[in-house]
């Protein structure tokens, strides 16, 4: 167990380092912030001044070393545009994003797993198909279409729900619904398939043969075994959502989240912000993955003493 945890930790650090390096060089390859930040009508002279001011005239290896140095001294620099510490900018947005992530994940699990089991158990009847079809609706529509649709119906016409920001619990309803809609279908589908795998196994037959009621068989044996697969899929989905899933929702609901920050920083080539925001997101994803790995190893006795498959 300890060796496993160590290995996971080492992998995390390595991944993190690779990302740090990739992001640093990739951003610099993709264009100068001057074209994005100042844009119009800067003379050659002005450009030179600003390049010096932002210290972009230093050799790229110097910049890279300085950037790595930030991991030691904690100074990750100032945004090119806002001119305030990037750590502050990211911190401001971390909690709203996390809130949304948590509420969307909770909503997804509450809906997707029961529906997935229903779809598996009744897969031969119309119920199973209908449940699946319904879930696809949420998944198959681009989430901004769904979001705008919700806004028009529940805020514009019915006037039941607010649209701007994250001020009250009511503000969470539409963004949560939008984000969950896309995840529900995926999780449900994997739940169904994992359950189907399990339902065909010998030990299920044994359990039935022992005369246990069908619902107990499914919930006790089926879900426990399918849980391992479901867990890893949930982990992936949550990680994907943490990485980039919510920018659209943040934009429509004026949610002060990190996706919006990230995309804007990327479009404007605000390197310091971009680097730090990516690092934060990457760290979150790596942590989520590691947690899933550990849970996975814990849940699957076969893996407890061998390396992870």
């Amino acid at each position: 167990m300890l060796g496993n945890a160590l290995r996971i930790l080492l992998r995390m650090v390595l991944t993190f380092f690779v990302i740090v390096t990739l992001v640093f060089f990739a951003t610099r390859l993709s264009g100068s912030p001057l074209d994005f930040v100042f844009g119009e009508g800067m003379s050659v002279e002005d450009r030179a001044i600003m390049i010096r001011y932002y210290q972009l005239d230093r050799p790229i290896w110097d910049q890279y070393l300085a950037f790595l140095g930030a991991f030691v001294d904690g100074h990750f620099g100032l945004s090119f545009i806002e001119r305030r510490p990037v750590a502050e900018m990211v911190a401001e947005r971390l909690w709203p994003s996390a809130q949304l992530l948590i509420s969307a994940t909770a909503a997804t699990l509450l809906v997707a797993i029961p529906l997935g089991i229903i779809a598996a158990v009744w897969r031969k009847s119309w119920i199973g198909s209908a449940v699946m079809a319904l879930a696809f609706l949420g998944y198959a529509v681009p989430n901004f279409v769904l979001a705008v649709f919700l806004v028009l119906v529940f805020a514009f016409w019915l006037n039941w729900l607010p649209v701007v920001g994250n001020g009250t619990p009511a503000h969470f309803i539409m963004p949560t619904l939008t984000l969950a809609a896309a995840m529900i279908a995926a999780i449900m589908r994997f739940t169904r398939n994992a359950m189907l795998d399990v339902l065909g196994q010998d030990y299920m037959r044994t359990a039935r043969a022992k005369g246990l009621p069908e619902s107990a068989v499914i919930l006790k044996h089926g879900l426990r075994n399918a849980g391992i697969t479901i867990l890893s899929v949930v982990g992936l989905q949550v990680a994907a959502l943490a990485a980039s899933g919510s920018v659209v929702v943040e934009s429509i609901f004026a949610w002060p989240g990190i996706g919006d920050l990230l995309v804007n920083a990327a479009i404007r080539r605000d390197y310091p912000v971009l680097q730090f925001a990516v690092l934060t997101v990457a760290l979150a994803v790596i942590l989520i993955n590691a947690a899933v790995d550990l849970a996975y190893a814990w849940a699957d006795p076969r893996l407890r003493h061998s390396s992870r498959t």
Partner: protein, 518 residues
């Protein structure tokens, strides 16, 4: 306004007073920093007027420059190149410091003799003729220019010359006796001015909160508090008006106005903005060197049709690079640009156009209707036989030698052709510096007469000559002055004023009032 069931708690941010007047603005964009000195963006220009004052105000209900006392009460030219200004007594900054001649000198010289790089950029493009400001006594300052300045008052009304507090800025970081670059950067996150509203909360890109400043020297602000929130999506902005989360929504394109037409509790205030959306052409692109090709591209664009279709006829199509706001230099009689597809075809044939592809760059929908206009324009070019395609880039490409044509805007930074055409198309100005526009000695000579003559007629003649030069060898076509609309609750009385630069949200006395919400 009244029906929102679940979010009434949101409005509980009301301060104790029952009749507090408040307004929340849902804005398409909120500035990433607030410093009137370095900013000249269309986003930032919305926010400065409530918090800062210039030395010389103007009548903001009038399009042209009619000077009025600001932080200076009177001013005279004591020499051809020196203006002496008497400062208003008893002015205090929102942080409680009294405004002195030192603050004024500091504010002006930080721009005139800029050391902070972002200020240097602004210094060069519009304040280059200013030499320095000096203190004569506690209530008197003198401003020196290098050459006689016909636009003295206009330039002292500029956003870039708004007055800021010296001691406060210097004390923000490091040595409190020295203005370091870091001080200016800190200031742009916590701005302080002499205007009727103090900025009490600023989250860059997201939120600005103004609160009435009771120490304001003039008529007190009509609102207790105004909050500006970033709401990027237009449907969300309009919806926020219906839910009562906002009372004003900015940047509503004409196509979207239909959404709230049926709602008697909402209304629209719009105006033609003092700014041109333009199409620029790279004179130095190998394929566009022949002026006839560029003339043809310009002649092929039916700007009236663009206006009818995309702006529902609410925009204004100019015959030249001129607008009413230029006052005595408004010259509608100039016919610099026209639509003539037949002539375009003839010119193309004459120039031996061989079917090469012309690219049109656009930065998505950075400009209202920008992407639509780009597609319509390329179709119009196709109609005269020009093969055209769009490059939708997330960035400015005006300095890219590969750039052939693209959209841009020429805002009016102050009420004079120098404040619009002048800033953009001066000899060695930004367009030439970016390598897509060339000038010669003759152009420079005409320019000089236009820029510095004290005789309006001489300036008019010179401007007409400049326009002839532009028509003969075109680097630009002004498409139209866009119509910008703000949607708002019927309880709010507000409208854009003709005398402001584009997009200013003026909440000063006489500019806005709010009826008690029902």
């Amino acid at each position: 306004m009244k029906r929102l069931l679940l979010a009434t708690a949101l409005t509980a941010i009301l301060p104790g007073a029952v009749f507090a007047t408040e307004v929340t603005v849902a804005a398409a964009n909120v500035a990433p920093y607030l410093d009137p000195g370095r900013d000249h963006s269309n986003v930032g220009s919305q926010f400065y007027f409530n918090t800062f004052d210039p030395l010389i105000h103007k009548d903001y209900t009038k399009a042209d420059m009619q000077a009025q006392p600001g932080l200076a009460t009177e001013w005279t030219m004591v020499e051809p190149t020196v203006m002496e200004l008497k400062l208003r007594e008893g002015v205090v900054f929102q942080n409680g410091e009294a405004m002195t001649a030192d603050d004024v000198v500091f504010s002006l010289n930080r721009m005139f003799q800029a050391t902070f790089p972002p200020y240097q950029v602004r210094m060069r493009d519009r304040l280059a003729n200013f030499d320095r400001a000096e203190k004569i006594d506690d209530l008197t300052v003198r401003v020196h220019v290098k050459r006689e300045e016909p636009l003295f008052e206009t330039l002292l009304n500029l956003q870039q010359t708004f007055i800021v507090p010296e001691d406060y800025i210097k004390g923000l970081t490091g040595d409190p006796k020295v203005a370091e670059d870091a001080d200016y950067e800190a200031f742009s996150l916590a701005p302080v001015g002499t205007g009727p509203y103090a900025i009490t909360e600023f989250v860059p890109g997201e939120k600005i909160v103004y609160e009435r400043f009771d120490g304001f020297w003039g008529e007190k602000a009509p609102l207790d508090r105004a909050t500006v929130l970033h709401v990027g999506e237009v449907a969300s902005r309009l919806t926020a008006l219906r839910t009562g989360e906002a009372q004003i929504a900015t940047n509503i394109a004409p196509d979207q106005l239909a959404m709230i037409e049926g709602d008697a509790t909402l209304k629209v205030e719009g105006a033609v903005t003092p700014l041109f959306h333009v199409m620029i052409m790279n004179m130095n692109h190998p394929k566009l060197k022949d002026a006839r090709i560029r003339q043809a591209l310009s002649l092929a664009i039916d700007r009236d049709l663009l206006n009818e279709a995309l702006w529902l006829g609410k925009a204004v199509v100019p015959a030249s690079h001129t607008m009413e706001e230029f006052g005595p230099l408004y010259m509608p009689e100039l016919k610099t640009f026209e639509y003539n597809p037949e002539k375009a075809k003839a010119l193309l044939a004459e120039a031996g156009y061989d079917g090469f592809e012309v690219t049109f760059d656009t930065q998505g929908s950075y400009y209202t209707n920008g992407l639509l206009a780009a597609q319509a324009i390329t179709e119009m070019w196709a109609a005269v036989g020009v093969k055209a395609s769009i490059r939708d880039l997330p960035k400015w490409s005006g300095n890219d030698p590969e750039m052939m044509t693209r959209n841009w805007s020429n805002p009016m930074y102050f009420s004079d052709p120098f404040g619009s055409f002048g800033v953009m198309w001066a000899p060695n100005g930004p367009s030439e510096a970016e390598g897509r526009f060339n000038t010669d000695a003759e152009y420079a000579e005409i320019w000089d007469r236009f820029r510095f003559s004290k005789d309006v007629e001489v300036r008019r003649t010179a401007y007409a000559e400049l326009m002839d030069r532009i028509a003969a060898n075109p680097p630009v076509l002004p498409l139209y002055r866009p119509y910008e609309a703000w949607a708002m609750s019927q309880t709010v009385t507000w409208a854009p004023k003709a005398g402001h630069i584009p997009y200013v949200l003026d909440f000063r006395a006489g500019s806005i009032s709010v009826a008690a919400a029902n």
